[in-house]
Each structure stands twice: as C-alpha cells, then as structure tokens.
C-alpha cells in the first residue's frame, strides 16, 4: 500500500481542477466498488482517515492536528495513529481538557495562516466550543470582508455509537449545516473518508467533518486511484451508490449502509431503489437529489438525527419546491426518535432508524397501502 501511496501523479499540484480530477477518479472507483475487479484493495475507514491526514500533513507543513489524546494516545479512536512519531509534538498537539480553549486556539492559528485540524472526541463535546465554530470560524471571513480567512477543519465522530447514552449520541449535521460560512461533510465509505478529508483540509473555508464511530472499523474496497496521494473528492457533490427507478432514498454516513441493505430487500420485492449518499450536507447537492426524484417520482430521506429541523426536512422542502409536479407520493422522512438517546439496548434500538423502517417507508411511497407505524 505504501508503494501505491508513493506513486507519482501526472496531474501535478493538488489545487488544480479538483472537479476534473474527481471526475476521472470517481467512475473507476464506482466500478471497483461494484466488484468488477478482484484486485481492488480493502481499507478501513480508520486507515483511510489516517492516511489522508498523513498525506496532507506531509504535503503542507502548515497543516497540524490538535485535540485531546491525539498524540501520545494515538487518538481516542486511533485515527491519528503514528502521526506524533512522524511529525513531532509541534504538529500533533495534545491539549488540556478544554474544547473552548483548543478550538479558540485553532481558530486563532487559522486566522494567522496555519491550517489546523481540530479533533473533537465526539461532536457532542463540540457544543462546549460552538461559539468559536459559529461566531468566529464561520462568520469571520464575512465580517472582516475577506481580510480574515479561516482554513480550519473540525472533525470527529458524530451521531449514535452503541450504548453510550444521550450525551454521546446526538447527530449535529443539521445544527452545523444551518450556518452559512461553514461547509459540512459526512463520509460513508473509505473512499469518501479519504477524498472528503483531503478536500476539507485543502479548502480555504472552515469545514465540519462528521465521521461515525461505528464506521471506523468497517472495511470497504478502494480503487487504486483512491490510494493516490492527490486523490480528492469535490465538496458539494453527492454520490449515487446504487441506481434505481422506483424510489429515491437519500442518506449520509452510517445510514447509507442501512439504505443499501434496505434497497437489497426492496429489490427482492420488485422495488428498484436509488440510494444517494449525500457526502456533503452543506452545500447540499440538491441538483442530484432533484434529478433523481424526477426520475423515480418518490422520495424517502433517512438520517440518524432528531426529526425536527433535520437534514431530511431540508431535502423534502427542496424537492417540494423544485420537483413538486414529479412526485407521485408524499415524501417520507425517516429520522431518529424525538427523545434523548436512551441507554438500554432495546430502547436504543428503537430510537435509531433500522433497515425495516426504511423498507416500510419505501413501500409506503410505492403502494400507499401500508399504514404508517406509530410515531412519537
């Protein structure tokens, strides 16, 4: 794998024509993930993130990582494994326990011209620093009329893990995506993780990068192009993970996996579902979503977070505004239960969308004969 990473790229610098690069790269990657070639390598999301950080830090000396346990401990989830040894304590900074402190420091460093990557142990703890993220990072470029740019990345696990209770399980996609000035990304596969994190680090705007703890250990096939050090995915483009013609299912992060499984089940019942991996929550690829709905005429949005003012609400509104005449059925939203996440395993299972919920919702849009399950 190291050999592949060291391959010279004929495309030159990392900043030219990212869209062009990705156009040339995504297609082969899609083919690879469909299993056309048995030579496709497997990579965990953890390794994808680690390698992306490593390569970006190597390419640009201004990039540095800061957060709790990122150095000596190798990262709370081992995402930054080996980076302290390679780059030293000046570029992999272990911090005291103060999210407000190290986020503010990161923003200040970005103001000056460095490119910090701030790690939150989970995004739940980012609330202790949210003023710096929203009032300083997101708004500074606008408020200073372009004099202060903030090329910072905030990353960490987001959403529910397993059995961690209410204060460790909230999804913040909707919160951050509501704020102009921020870009919000949420990868699903290893290819997503690598490409989007690289894009985030290279981007001159502040980016909130929402990972998922349960996906860290999952392995995905990656094409050779993905392993190249200049690989990058465009921000603001969704990916059609599975093409279909009867119903559009949108999802991001872990729910993409669920949606794909639901699509398999639906296929057996004669419903061809198109699964869209959003990848980018802000800016959202409304063009792709609307084009898909105009093709299938039905929409199911899936997310882990709370339903009110959620990501699904925004998608539904966009589709109603842009493609109302194309809808053959009411839009369906699948979201987490409107309660703080309970701890008990049976309750937790009921508070998070399951594959059966997605299947039922898709069927409702197709038949309109299955009564809705009781909702909160």
């Amino acid at each position: 794998m190291l050999g592949i990473l060291r391959q010279k790229v004929s495309f030159g610098g990392s900043h030219i024509s990212i869209v062009e690069q990705s156009f040339l790269r995504i297609r082969p990657a899609v083919n690879a993930s469909r299993g056309y070639t048995s030579a496709a390598k497997e990579m965990t999301v953890r390794d994808a993130l680690n390698s992306a950080l490593d390569e970006e830090m190597s390419a640009d000396p201004k990039v540095f990582l800061m957060g709790e346990e990122v150095g000596e401990y190798q990262g709370a989830y081992k995402i930054s494994k080996g980076l302290l040894d390679k780059y030293g304590p000046e570029r992999v900074v272990d911090t005291p326990i103060t999210e407000a402190g190290f986020t503010g420091i990161g923003v200040g460093a970005a103001y000056y011209g460095l490119r910090p990557v701030i790690e939150f142990m989970t995004f739940n703890f980012s609330m202790q620093a949210i003023d710096h993220i929203i009032n300083s990072a997101a708004k500074s470029n606008y408020m200073s009329a372009g004099q202060i740019s903030v090329p910072i990345v905030f990353r960490g696990p987001n959403g529910a893990a397993a059995g961690v209770g209410a204060q460790h399980s909230q999804c913040y996609a909707a919160w951050y995506a509501a704020c102009p000035g921020l870009k919000v990304l949420s990868p699903y596969s290893s290819e997503d993780a690598r490409g989007l994190l690289k894009a985030a680090i290279r981007d001159p705007d502040p980016v909130v990068f929402l990972e998922n703890e349960l996906l860290y250990g999952e392995s995905f096939p990656v094409a050779a192009e993905v392993l190249d050090s200049s690989f990058c995915l465009p921000i603001g483009k969704a990916k059609i993970e599975r093409e279909g013609k009867d119903v559009t299912i949108t999802a991001f992060s872990k729910m993409v996996g669920y949606a794909l499984k639901a699509a398999e089940i639906l296929a057996n019942e004669g419903i061809s579902a198109e699964v869209i991996n959003l990848r980018s929550i802000r800016p959202m690829d409304k063009a792709t979503i609307n084009a898909s709905v105009r093709k299938t005429n039905r929409l199911v949005t899936v997310e882990e977070g709370f339903p009110q003012h959620g990501v699904g609400a925004e998608i539904c509104t966009s589709v109603i505004e842009e493609s109302f005449e194309y809808l053959d059925a009411a839009v369906e939203r699948i979201a987490g239960a409107d309660v703080p996440m309970p701890y008990a395993a049976n309750l937790e299972r009921m508070a998070v969308p399951q594959i059966e919920d997605i299947v039922r919702a898709a069927k409702r849009t197709c038949y309109r004969s299955v009564p809705k399950a009781a909702t909160a």
């Binding site: 000046e90 900074v93 911090t95 005291p96 103060t98 407000a100 402190g101 190290f102 986020t103 503010g104 420091i105 990161g106 923003v107 200040g108 460093a109 970005a110 103001y111 000056y112 011209g113 460095l114 910090p116 003023d131 710096h132 009032n135 300083s136 500074s140 470029n141 606008y142 408020m143 200073s144 009329a145 372009g146 004099q147 202060i148 740019s149 102009p180 000035g181 870009k183 981007d203 001159p204 705007d205 603001g236 800016p283």
Partner: protein
C-alpha cells in the same frame, strides 16, 4: 506548657508522625481540640480521661507506643527514619516534588497585602523619585500626547453623532486613553493585536485615519468591513489589527493560537490581546491562560481593569485581588500597573514584549483604570453609579492631563506649538463654522489643548460629513466572503435579486448601488 508543646512537636517530627496512618487518623478525628491534645492521644482512642492525664507523662507514653508501632512497619518506613533530621522532606507526586508540612494550614483566600501597582508619574505628572522606567523620546511622547487627545475628541464627537442619530451605536474609551496609546506605542507594527472593543487607540497609533474610523461607523462603501458590522467593529489586516468580534473573551484563546503560529514561524514579534475585568470571568480566559503557559506562547494578555462590566462592579465580578493574581495560578509572569499613567503602561508593555519574545512565554499585564464613559451608547451608567464618582475620575484622575504635565515639564510641548496650532485653528474658524459647542469636556482652560481640540474636531466633523454622504456598499457585497468562492445558491439569489430590482426600481433605496 509552651516548652512542652515544642518538645512534643519536635519529637513528632523526629518520629515522622505523619507516616503512621493511625496517628494521622487520630489527629484528623480531633477537629476541635488543640494540637497539644492531639499529640497526646495520637494512637490511643480518644476519651475524656486521656485529656486529663498530665501532659508530660502522656507524651512520653504515646511516643513509647509509637516506637513499638514502628517495629511492625515495612522496611521502607525503616529507611525513612534515617531522613528524620531533615525537616523539609519532599514527597514525590505526579507533577514534581512537594515539600510537606505537618501543620495543617489553609492558604488564605487573600494575601496580607494586595499586589502593588507600578506607577512612575504621580497625579501631578511629576516623575516619582527613583522610579525605573523605559525612556520615551520627545517625538514619541509628543505623538503619544497628540494621539491621546485625538482619541478623546474622537470618542466625544462620535458619541454625539450617535446621539444625533447619525450612527446607530458607539463605544467610548474615555478614561482609558493611556492604556490604548501607551501600550500601542510600546509595540511594533509587526505585533499582532486581537482586541476586545475598547482599544481603537491602537489603530489610531498605527495610522488608521479619522476618515477610516468614520467609514466603518457609517458602513459606507469605503468601509474595510464592507458595511457588514456594527459601528466600532474595526479591523485592518495591514495594521495587524484583527477585526473586532462582539462575544467577550473569544479573542483570548485565538490570541494564543496566533501566538503559537508566530512561534512556529520564529518571528521577532508577539501577539497582544486585550480584555476587561468582566472578560476575565469567561471560560475562555482560563483556558487561554492555561494553554498559553503550557504551549509557551509569546502572547501578552493586557487586562483593562476599569472597575465596571456594564453595571457589574468589581466586587460582583470576582473575589480575588484583581486579575493579576490569576496569572501566577496559571504559571504566568504578571504585573499590575497604573493604567492612567502612560509612562508606566509604556514601560511595562515594552518590557513584557521583550520577555514574551526572548523567553517565548506569556505575560499578563493588569492595568488599573476607570471607565469614565458609559459602557456604550445603549447604557446610562448614572443609573448604577454615582455621578460624582464619574466626575472625580474624569477630572482629577485624568490620564491625558497627567501625561501632558510631564510632557510640558520636559519642555516638549511649548507655547510655540500652541500658537502654531492656534493660528491653524483660527484659519479653520474663519473659513468655516465655529464648533465651540464640541469643546473637549476635559479642557482645563489651557489654550494648547483647546487648539489641538478644535483642530481635531474640525477634521473629525469633516470626516463624518464625508462618511455620511458616501454611498453604501454595493449589493454584490451582500453575497461575497461567506465562503472563499461564492456558492451557486448565493450566485443565483444575487441574480434573482438584481432582476427584481430592475423590475421595481422605485422600491429600491437610491443611495445603495446595485
């Protein structure tokens, strides 16, 4: 009795009393008895009888018990006995060795004496005998005085402009001119400033013109902020002055981050950040001081302790001896300085800067002063503090007058300067209207001050007039700088908006360019 007590105490030391858990537990239980009796009944369960036995006998009795106890200790305890002659032994804990004491003592909540305040000029502008300070050249001193007067006038006139409804909001720095100008004078143009909002004097020192100030307050098309912020939220990249941000104390950890970046760059510059007494209560203050010390960042934290956080006086803000004592708690070298003594502020900040850069460490400077003006134009401070208190600080403890006296005594501000200014002013007065009503409230009748006042007032009024008449920023500036490159949704919205304006031009304000 006293002698007995001393002997028993010595014995206790020699025997390393604290080491024996049973003994320590015994002492802890006796919370209302004196140390005497606690030593008596060290390993013996407390009972009324014990306390009545003759002290001497009991003492020896208990020590005998202790000696016998020792035989059952581990070999480690035995080894320690050889150290018993050394009274100040150290305990090894994570974080380093600490000397221990068997006297239970709480550190008092306040020191016996408050941290003294560094000052060099007395209330009459006289240099205090034997004071140590950084020498200021004539040029610098005159520029400092001129800037302080200009700042005062600027504040007064902009405040009036807000009252007249010409700008929506203003924040004065009245009473804090010395902190503003003297600290700026002690720094170089390369030092990065992260201000709170009561430090426009730094921009003034660095060459921001009155017109530029007015442009920001009026939010016109010449405003560097493109009309995006409330008045007084100045920012200027070329002056190394970061755009003012309203939330309190957020600039503190950001300053540490910028200082960390400077450190990595190995530049001969530091970061200077300002905050008030109220700002020191924010969580960000504590995180940033702690962090700055750990990261050894070259940053100067300057606290303008002006006695009031809107209506909250010092006693309701914190119970410590001001902000300076908090520095040591975080491992930061600190100094308390008279914020109304321009020379002292200059010296302290100059030295702090040298230390910060050469030793790569943070420094805390607490400048004591008084907020003469209201918190802002949205505040009427007479509602929560007596008017004569404000008057006292405005007149008797005025930093501008104090510095002027020193400058005059040095022969650097003379009658010649006065008359030059006077003739300048006369020309202005003959040509234009008289603006005597805008006389500086601090004037003590000295003509030089009056002349400078009038001259600056004229300039400022002209700047305001120009700023007011200038066009507002164009429509496109509503949508730019949200991101580095405008996203498609905003480009579309701009296009739609322009079309709407074209269709309904009568509904669109005439002084805002499309």
């Amino acid at each position: 009795m006293a002698i007995w007590f001393t002997r028993s105490k010595n014995i206790a030391h020699y025997l390393n009393l604290k080491r024996y858990v049973g003994v320590s537990a015994g002492i802890v239980l006796l919370n209302h008895t004196s140390l005497n009796s606690s030593l008596q009944s060290s390993t013996i369960p407390l009972s009324r009888d014990n306390r009545r036995t003759p002290p001497a006998a009991t003492c020896f009795g208990s020590s005998a018990t202790l000696f016998s106890l020792r035989r059952f200790e581990s070999t480690e305890a035995e080894k320690r006995l050889y150290d018993y002659e050394d009274e100040y032994q150290a305990l090894d804990f994570p974080g380093g060795k600490v000397a221990f004491t068997s006297e239970m003592q709480f550190i008092s909540e306040s020191a016996e004496k408050r941290v003294p305040c560094y000052r060099v000029l007395d209330d009459h502008g006289q240099l205090v005998m034997g004071s140590s300070f950084e020498q200021v050249s004539k040029e610098a001193a005159v520029k400092m005085y001129g800037n302080m007067v200009t700042l005062q006038i600027m504040d007064t006139i902009f405040y009036e402009a807000q009252r007249q409804g010409r700008i929506s909001f203003y924040v004065t720095s009245l009473g804090e001119e010395a902190i503003n100008i003297a600290s700026a004078a002690a720094l170089t143009a390369d030092d990065i400033i992260l201000p709170q909002y009561r430090e426009p004097g730094i921009l003034l020192w660095r060459g921001f013109t009155l017109q530029e100030f007015a442009n920001q307050c009026f939010g016109n098309e010449a405003d560097y902020g493109k009309g995006r912020q409330m008045p007084i939220h100045y920012g200027s990249r070329k002056h190394n002055f970061f755009t003012i941000s309203s939330p309190i104390a957020t600039q503190l950890p950001q300053a540490v981050g910028a200082a960390y970046s400077l450190k990595m760059d190995k530049k001969d510059a530091c970061v200077v950040t300002y905050f008030g007494d109220g700002g020191s209560s924010e969580g960000d203050f504590h995180a940033s001081l702690n962090f700055a010390a750990v990261m050894e960042a070259p940053v100067i934290f300057i606290c303008r302790n002006n006695g009031w956080a809107i209506s909250t006086p010092i006693l309701e803000q914190f119970r410590s001896d001001g902000v300076v004592v908090k520095g040591q708690a975080y491992g930061i070298r600190s100094i308390r300085v008279d914020g109304n003594d321009a020379l002292a502020v200059y010296s302290a900040v100059h030295t702090a800067r040298e230390m910060a850069i050469s030793e790569q460490r943070p420094i805390l400077v607490e400048a004591l002063t008084y907020r003469v003006g209201h918190h802002s134009t949205s505040d009427d401070s007479t509602k929560y503090r007596p008017a004569d208190e404000i008057e006292y600080w405005k007149m008797a403890r005025n930093p501008v007058n104090r510095f002027r006296k020193w400058v005059e005594k040095n022969g650097w501000w003379s009658d010649k300067d006065e008359s030059e200014l006077r003739s300048n002013v006369r020309k202005q007065v003959e040509v234009g209207k008289l603006f005597i009503c805008l006389l500086n409230p601090f004037s003590s009748g000295q003509l030089s001050k009056f002349s400078l006042t009038c001259y600056t007032s004229m300039q400022l009024l002209q700047a305001i007039q120009v700023a007011e008449k200038m066009e507002k920023p164009p429509l496109v500036d509503l949508f730019t700088d949200v991101y580095d490159l405008p996203p498609s949704n905003l480009l579309e919205q701009e296009r739609l908006l322009k079309e709407t304006i074209k269709r309904h031009p009568q509904d669109y304000p005439s002084d805002v360019p499309v």
